[in-house]
Symmetry: C2
Subunit: 184 residues, 2 copies
DNA sequence: CGTGAACTTCACAAATTTCTGAAGACAGCG
DNA sequence: CGCTGTCTTCAGAAATTTGTGAAGTTCACG
């Protein structure tokens, strides 16, 4: 991938297109979002889907990621993504459960805000610790079932060892990331 | 063509795990597999599915993993897993494409053998290099779209940096694994 | 307390995925 | 050459997943 650092062209044009269809009329909730940004949302969401996240949660999450404050209301999400309130509700439940967003509510308001849970969402997203544990556990049972002195047993045992190794490595890796990111 | 007059027997559910019975006749291909091992296959396959692999490829792969030689014929797979030859064909195509198995054919035989590609299948399975590259690339575009001096831009940029970091780390990690595994 | 805004739940329709039977293609063998 | 065993392709049935409309619930506020 190209390494572009030096001559960053004066690119402010992107941020200035923010008002295509702002209704002058009664309290329009919608904040028109740049077509480029919408395209990114869909592209990013598609990759989340590919990684296993359901479609609506992916789109909602992507929209939150590029939102100025990292937070949007239910209505804003429904409007921007052209989906029903029910779809927003489902997506938001999924994301909250996954620990990726937080539900906020201004006291004395019926309106909820959904906010990115922290600025390190990808740590949550890539955290597969519990999965690795289960893989290892399943595999160890398998070793027992096929007999540990068989070829199959040795295959499974090595796989289990790999997942055990992975668990240790990933922990260390995240520590290195936290250090590294302060240098960015 | 609707076949309503034909009294279609109730669809055999996949859950009904029929006991593998050795046919008395000569040349029975099937090798009865222990119920414990079958249970492991299904459990392991379920975890592969959870990780994103389609059901049939997962089951086929699991069956190969616990097979004595790490290889089975199409017929053996169909029989053991109670699936149609078509399903085996599809699963095997998927697995070969993914680089997890190898197709073998004894010269002068019409029968194919599917063999685990190597004893380090999990290296292949966990190799997400290309994915990471695409994530990073998508994210960099996003930074550009939202403007790199916005909050959203900084969020995306940090995420991109994380995926770049991951790419480097995973490479090193696999090297450490190869060293470590020789000590097992 | 009643009203209505805002979110949630539910049942169903639509879209998608998955597996099967059946026909097809390919290759060894008589 | 044609037969037969083995794998592949294909159309369609079944199951599953998804998203919507509409009814239900909750709660701030009058």
């Amino acid at each position: 991938m190209p390494q572009e650092s030096q001559q960053q062209a004066p690119r402010q044009t992107r941020q200035t297109q923010q008002r295509e269809e702002e209704r002058a009329g009664a309290g329009a909730v919608e904040v028109a979002v740049d077509a480029d940004v919408m395209a990114f949302i869909e592209r990013f969401a598609a990759q989340l889907v590919e990684a296993g996240m359901p479609r609506m949660p992916s789109r909602v999450f992507a929209a939150l990621l590029v939102s100025p404050d990292g937070a949007l209301s239910s209505a804003a999400l429904a409007d921007q993504l052209q989906i029903s309130p029910a779809a927003v509700s489902g997506a938001v439940r999924y994301l909250a459960q996954a620990g990726l967003i937080l539900r906020e509510r201004d006291p004395g308001s019926r309106r909820e805000l959904y906010r990115l849970h922290n600025d390190q969402w990808f740590e949550t997203f890539t955290n597969r610790e519990h999965m690795l544990v289960r893989w290892e556990s399943t595999l160890r049972t398998g070793v027992y079932s096929v007999g540990e002195d068989s070829d199959a047993g040795r295959r499974l045992a090595e796989t289990a060892a790999f997942f055990e190794f992975l668990q240790r490595e990933l922990t260390g890796m995240m520590e290195r990331w936290r250090v590294y990111r302060t240098t960015l």
